[in-house]
């Protein structure tokens, strides 16, 4: 992250080789052919970055295609981002749509749009009200997912505090909801300390304190301390274990 450096602006259509910059703004159609190292990157147009991207803040309101890994303090996606590598950030916010092939690792991940990854997702705090599809494992200290219609899925979920609940849209949505089934969360295994699930389909749930709410379909629950199951949930088998 070079402090000293020139600014780069692509307003029409342009190609740069890459390099170190202070501020980079791409408003038209911009291609970066190599590695890009900058303090601030703003993409309001359409951009292809073919090298690695290192930056302090990366803001995408347009559309961006990144071929390699992205490392930044803050990544905000309001438009569309396709990343073929891995994203490492302190904070990642997705309000638009982000498809990250290599997975995401951040302190904080907030999704109100669409986040798709084939890899794993790691964070201290993971909050989603949008649509999340994680091929690998979702591992976070605090997980709070309120799936939007369409449903969310993850290969596995692990963490300390895990809460998966129904999305809570007010007004018109509430009336519309009478005619549609609530959004589901589908996963293989959920493992954590305190687990609260609603409208979730999972094979196995393991934790210290487990609360299974309405609309859940769980094959096996293993709990250490407490277990509570709503009448509107289906749990095939539950047992208390010593761990």
């Amino acid at each position: 992250m070079a402090e000293a450096g020139n600014d780069l602006k692509i307003a029409g259509s342009g190609t740069v080789a890459g390099g170190r910059f202070n501020r980079v703004a791409i408003a038209g159609q911009g291609d970066v052919d190599g590695d890009l190292d900058c303090v601030e990157l703003k993409i309001t147009g359409c951009a292809d970055v073919r090298g690695h991207l290192v930056g302090r803040t990366v803001k995408i309101t347009g559309s961006a295609d990144m071929e390699k890994d992205v490392k930044a303090d803050e990544v905000r996606v309001m438009g569309t981002l396709t990343c073929h590598g891995k994203i490492t950030a302190t904070k990642m916010t997705v309000r638009g749509s982000a498809d990250v092939a290599g997975g995401v690792a951040a302190q904080e991940i907030e999704v109100s749009g669409v986040l798709t990854t084939k890899g794993d997702c790691e964070a201290e705090s993971f909050a989603a009200t949008g649509v999340v599809t994680i091929g690998g494992m979702l591992n976070a200290g605090n997980i709070d997912i309120k799936p939007h219609h369409g449903g969310c899925r993850a290969g596995e979920v692990g963490g300390e505090k895990i809460s998966i609940g129904p999305g809570a849209p007010g007004g018109l949505h509430r009336i519309l909801r009478l005619f549609q089934t609530p959004a589901r969360f589908t996963t293989g295994t959920v493992e954590g300390d305190d687990i609260h699930l609603e409208h979730t389909r999972a094979k196995t749930v393991r934790g210290n304190n487990v609360v299974i709410g309405p609309g859940c379909e769980i094959e096996l629950v293993e709990y250490r301390d407490t277990f509570d199951c709503d009448r509107g949930a289906t749990v095939k088998e539950h047992k208390k274990t010593s761990c």
Binding site: E124, N139, G158, E160, G188, T189, G192, D193, G207, E222
Partner: protein, 211 residues
């Protein structure tokens, strides 16, 4: 099931930790990804761990997390070298290596004013192989040369040093780990050292020594 693996459930019970702790440590890279071994069992997919390694690691995390932050611990367990430089005197004081190994090292690199972490590591590996008796003083030079020339290629990954002897001829190799190597029956593996273990031991010694 292989006896040297432990299931996740048994691990939590034996070590007395919760799922949350295990996942947090994994996130902080205190437990390497390759130790999570997924296997299909009759209850579905289960995760297993190499028993001795994981129990030892958890024991150390639990003992050391009082004094050090999780990030410091992660640095210690990481297979990447630390950023530090020692002087010859410091290396001596720390009692990391014997005189013999240090002398041999200095013979190879006369006039080296300071030791980077990588160099200290090479020295430590040399010491270990010499101590094990599998490598003679003369062969120690081969070990040093090998590390000096090729260890950098394994940056951030674990690798193993294997020393072989056959019909009185000796040679050494660096192999990425986890990986598998097979030897023909006439060859004797005289020393085999995991570099990640060495880094961890070395970092622990340096931390204890106040560096």
């Amino acid at each position: 099931m292989e006896p040297d693996l432990i299931s996740k459930k048994d691990l939590l019970e034996t070590a007395g930790i919760s799922y949350g702790q295990l996942y947090r440590w994994k996130r902080k890279n205190l437990i390497p990804e390759e130790w999570f071994i997924r296997k299909s069992t009759f209850t579905g997919q289960e995760t297993f761990f190499p028993r001795e390694k994981i129990l030892a690691r958890i024991d150390r995390i639990k003992n050391m997390k009082e004094g050090l932050s999780l990030d410091d611990l992660a640095d210690m367990f990481s297979p990447s070298p630390a950023d530090l430089v020692l002087t010859k005197e410091q290396v001596k004081e720390q009692n990391i290596v014997s005189e013999v190994a240090l002398d041999l090292f200095l013979q190879q690199y006369p006039g080296l004013p300071v030791f980077s972490f990588a160099r200290v590591l090479y020295l430590y590996v040399l010491e270990k192989t010499l101590q094990s008796g599998g490598v003679s003083l003369d062969e120690g030079k081969i070990v040093l040369r090998l590390l000096e020339d090729h260890y950098r290629a394994f940056e951030g990954r674990n690798c193993e040093l294997i020393f072989l002897r056959k019909l009185g001829i000796s040679t050494g190799l660096l192999v990425a780990s986890p990986g598998e190597v097979r030897f023909e029956p006439g060859a004797h593996v005289t020393a085999r050292v995991s570099l990640a273990n060495c880094i961890e031991e070395l970092k622990t010694k340096l931390v204890k020594g106040g560096i």
